[in-house]
């Protein structure tokens, strides 16, 4: 599927979407498709990758059931959810559109099925439509008030809407109703957000223990645990978790991407590129493609880097076409790479309004900073750090703001704090932090 996706992207690019990228790149963007096409080996096509072939089979079987009985509400609901799993497995966002279609059919057949509302809620989350997700999660909860899962949908939406107090309460309720991987992982995330790292690790280990015997969820949980280590500069511990994740569930794109970042932090650029290329081949998520570009850039291969960056815009179009909001992600990418800064700031404002979370605040702060509006940026940076989250990137952004405002000592303190926490927090910016911290 990712191959199909890439071909789709190539076609899109060739068809003129390239114009959209106009002026950003030194090379004519029209070269991107040919580079892409060349990178497709015959082997890639044979592989027919799927994280779990059974989801594809499930989709087929549900489609057959529905052909025979188009009024089978439950099968429409399950098909809608299965499409979301396919989106997760392949990175192909057109499954979101299919999922929405199937769930809408289910809803028309039976408007009282809680599963449909939670399915639509999780779809809204995937599309970064958090206010809608919150509404749908609450509808699901009203229909089945004793189900733990609905608290996950509601709490996830609240997190992104910056309503942390109620989100944490909902995660607590979810855990009290049914401690499970899903609940523990959320409690861990809450603890991470409030800066209780050791406690976050404890909760993620509970999640991991609740995931034993299920390969993909276990691998996912290990990746999260590894990222907690990585964010605190414990690269060896992180690497161990990522390797185990990839062993538990081979060719796991989430683990490969995390391994790439870790290898880069450990100074093994070539291996990092290898891992990230595999991740991108499996699931071309924009952040993987951006990381691969950054790795090429750091490795002194600007041409290859630009080719990766060129893909971001096309993936963005594809995501948008399937209802996914990506303003914040694109703003962050553009700001990080010094592209279209005015436009990026406008995007960041939109993104932060949709997502007034500490991440939304941080991206807006960073966009304002890079546009020289450091006074306004300070306000958002303070918001971004309001929970006490231990995040080197946010510390770095704050340092840049202080520096820009002429508060050099304060800036240096933030840079040092970022580096003390995670000396290799970013391929592009950790070296800058080191320079300014001195």
């Amino acid at each position: 599927m990712p191959n199909k996706l890439l071909i789709g992207l190539a076609v899109l690019l060739a068809a003129g979407f390239a114009a959209f990228l106009g002026g950003v790149f030194v090379e004519p963007p029209a070269q991107a498709p040919s580079a892409l096409a060349a990178s497709q080996s015959a082997e890639d096509f044979k592989a027919g990758f799927a994280l779990d072939a059974s989801t594809a089979r499930l989709v087929e079987s549900l489609q057959a059931t529905l052909e025979a009985n188009p009024k089978d509400e439950h099968s429409w609901a399950l098909l809608g959810l299965a499409y979301q799993q396919r989106a997760r497995e392949t990175g192909d966002p057109s499954y979101y559109t299919k999922s929405g279609g199937a769930l809408d059919r289910a809803l028309r057949l039976d408007s009282s099925d809680s599963l449909v509302y939670s399915g639509l809620g999780s779809l809204a989350l995937s599309r970064h439509r958090f206010a809608l997700a919150l509404k749908l999660g609450r509808q699901a909860h009203a229909l089945s008030p004793t189900i733990a899962r609905n608290y996950g949908v509601i709490g996830d939406a609240e997190i992104e809407l910056g309503r942390y107090r109620s989100a944490f309460r909902d995660f607590d309720t979810m855990t009290r109703l049914q401690p499970s991987l899903s609940a523990y992982a959320r409690v861990s995330y809450g603890r991470e957000l409030i800066g209780h790292t050791a406690a976050a690790i404890t909760a993620m280990k509970l999640a991991l223990d609740a995931a034993t015997d299920t390969a993909e969820p276990a691998a996912w949980t290990r990746v999260q645990l590894g990222k907690l280590y990585f964010n605190h500069g414990r690269y060896r511990a992180a690497e161990r978790e990522f390797l185990l994740a990839n062993e538990t569930f081979p060719n796991y794109a989430y683990a490969l991407d995390a391994l790439a970042t870790t290898e880069a932090a450990l100074g093994r650029l070539r291996r990092a590129v290898g891992y990230e290329r595999r991740a991108v081949d499996l699931i071309p998520l924009p952040q993987y493609v951006a990381t691969l570009g950054d790795l090429y850039r750091v490795a002194g291969r600007p041409l290859l880097a630009r080719r990766q960056y060129a893909l971001i815009g096309a993936i963005e179009r594809l995501l948008r076409a399937n209802g996914v909001r990506v303003d914040l992600e694109i703003a962050q990418f553009d700001v990080d790479h010094g592209l279209r800064l005015t436009h990026a700031l406008a995007l960041a404002r939109i993104g932060q309004r949709q997502r007034p979370s500490i991440d939304g605040d941080d991206v807006l702060a960073w966009a304002l900073t890079r546009n020289g509006r450091c006074g306004a940026a300070l306000h958002y940076s303070q918001l971004a750090l309001r929970l006490g989250t231990q995040d080197a990137v946010k510390f770095f952004h704050r340092g840049m703001i202080d520096r820009c405002l002429g508060r050099h000592a304060a800036g240096r303190a933030w840079f040092r704090r970022a580096l003390a926490l995670n000396p290799r927090f970013s391929l592009l910016w950790a070296p800058v932090a080191r320079r300014y911290a001195a």
Binding site: D52, T55, I159, T175, V187, R191, D213
Partner: protein, 430 residues
């Protein structure tokens, strides 16, 4: 980006994948308590699959309780080998006075020894408490992975060394570890709307496919002297459950335990409890089961059977099912007025010399629903009971699978040795 990952988890990750895969692959749709609340399917180490209670045929003065967890262990699923969860608590309860509350609580916790880590280290240490007091401890045998693994661990005969782990404490024999899944059912057909594979029959003529064939589970088995559990009425109720630790965002130490799965009578969760209430049912104790009584009165399965096979099963006022599953068989396993999901057994009924798979329905009172033996065909019995057998409406329903794929043992723990990963019986029979 973290967000994205979490969203994926709720959206379609673990929960739903586990839920869905069960529709196709037997690997995650196994024993009777299977297709339950999605959040249970996702947590196989906490998933109670089956519970058995019977007077031991070779030691009739003892009661054997077998409780199984972890559905659908594929013997050849390495490198993801199966073990009990180290952060869960596994419980077996005995109610001696019919109030739905435990009078004896056997709780087990497991730890995988740390040390040189290698995948496939499946020997776990266990400690057990009885009514909250330290009681017994032991080791599980290793999973039955293959001859090389066993050679490495200096195991000559798997079963001999597995049975050598049986602990005797205060007259009770205790076993914990991997076993063959003793449950047998045409799971694929059951979840395809109780379909029956043999056309033109209602399913009691064979022809079904045992979806549990070749799969393992993790078992805790107790053999308890009847004198330790007997009551004036000789009838007791048994159930099992799994607890996980309760944690909150703003706190470091866990605050206690929450029940995430339970099992008394077979298939209640699947056949009786509506989807939207399965989470609630799984965390409820039998003493509070009265809230579910109305679903026994109007079993969904009866309507489904009528629609499919026109068997004319009564769909309302099923006080027969309420009695048998909720308060006991009148005059046989009746424990009083409290409605509670417990596997009830009358300890005064001796083991049958020739057990009948249809148990009480075939006149063999030593079997289900008086307790449950490994070989009792609970799928056929429950289909026929739901169709109205106890109201005199006898329909020969069944799933066409009448016995386990391998013979049970004739001695404790009775459950057959686990299928070996290396030999992988499924590879030849599939």
């Amino acid at each position: 980006m973290r967000k994205l990952a979490l969203v994926f988890l709720v959206a379609a990750g673990a929960t739903l994948l586990a839920l869905f895969v069960g529709r196709l692959a037997p690997s995650s749709s196994s024993a009777s308590s299977h297709r339950e609340a999605p959040l249970i399917s996702e947590d196989p180490t906490a998933d109670n699959t089956d519970l058995y209670a019977f007077r031991s045929p070779d030691k009739p003065n003892t009661l054997t309780i077998v409780s199984n967890w972890i559905p659908g262990e594929d013997p050849a699923a390495g490198p993801n080998y199966y073990t009990f969860s180290q952060t869960a608590k596994y419980n077996i309860f005995v109610d001696r006075n019919g109030d739905g509350r435990p009078d004896l609580t056997y709780s087990f916790r497991f730890k995988t020894p740390t040390g040189p880590y290698f995948l496939g280290n499946t020997v776990q240490n266990w400690t057990a408490t009885l009514n909250g007091k330290p009681w017994a401890s032991g080791k599980t045998p290793m999973d039955n992975i293959g001859p090389r693994q066993q050679a490495l661990a200096k195991v000559r005969n798997y079963e001999t060394s597995a049975e050598a782990t049986i602990v005797h404490e205060n007259g009770v024999a205790i076993f914990a570890g991997q076993r063959d899944d003793p449950f047998f059912a045409d799971v694929g057909a059951i979840f395809d709307l109780v379909a029956i594979r043999k056309p033109g029959t209602t399913g009691n003529k064979g022809g079904g496919r045992d979806f549990l064939s070749g799969y393992n589970v993790h078992t805790i088995a107790l053999q308890i002297p009847i004198s330790q559990v007997d009551t004036p009425s000789h009838t007791i109720g048994v159930w099992s459950s799994t607890d996980r630790q309760d944690v909150v965002v703003n706190g470091v130490v866990h605050k206690g335990w929450t029940q995430v799965s339970r099992l008394g009578e077979p298939l209640v969760n699947e056949v009786v409890i509506p989807t939207g209430l399965k989470d609630l049912w799984n965390r409820t104790s039998p003493a509070n089961d009265a809230q579910f009584e109305k679903y026994y009165q109007t079993p969904i399965l009866a309507a489904v059977l009528n629609k499919l096979y026109k068997v004319d099963a009564p769909t309302t006022n099923r006080s027969d099912l309420v009695a048998v599953l909720g308060t006991g068989i009148p005059k046989v396993t009746y424990t009083g007025k409290t409605f509670a999901d417990e596997l009830r057994i009358n300890l005064s009924i001796p083991p049958a010399a020739h057990p009948k798979r249809m148990g009480v329905l075939a006149g063999d009172n030593a079997g289900f629903p008086n307790g449950r033996r490994l070989g009792d065909d609970v799928v056929d019995i429950e289909e026929q009971a739901v169709a109205g057998f106890l109201m005199g409406h006898k329909v020969p329903l069944g799933d066409g699978v009448n016995g386990n794929d391998v013979p049970y043992l004739t001695h404790f723990p009775y459950v057959a040795p686990p299928h070996q990963g290396y030999a992988n019986s499924k590879a030849t029979t599939a």
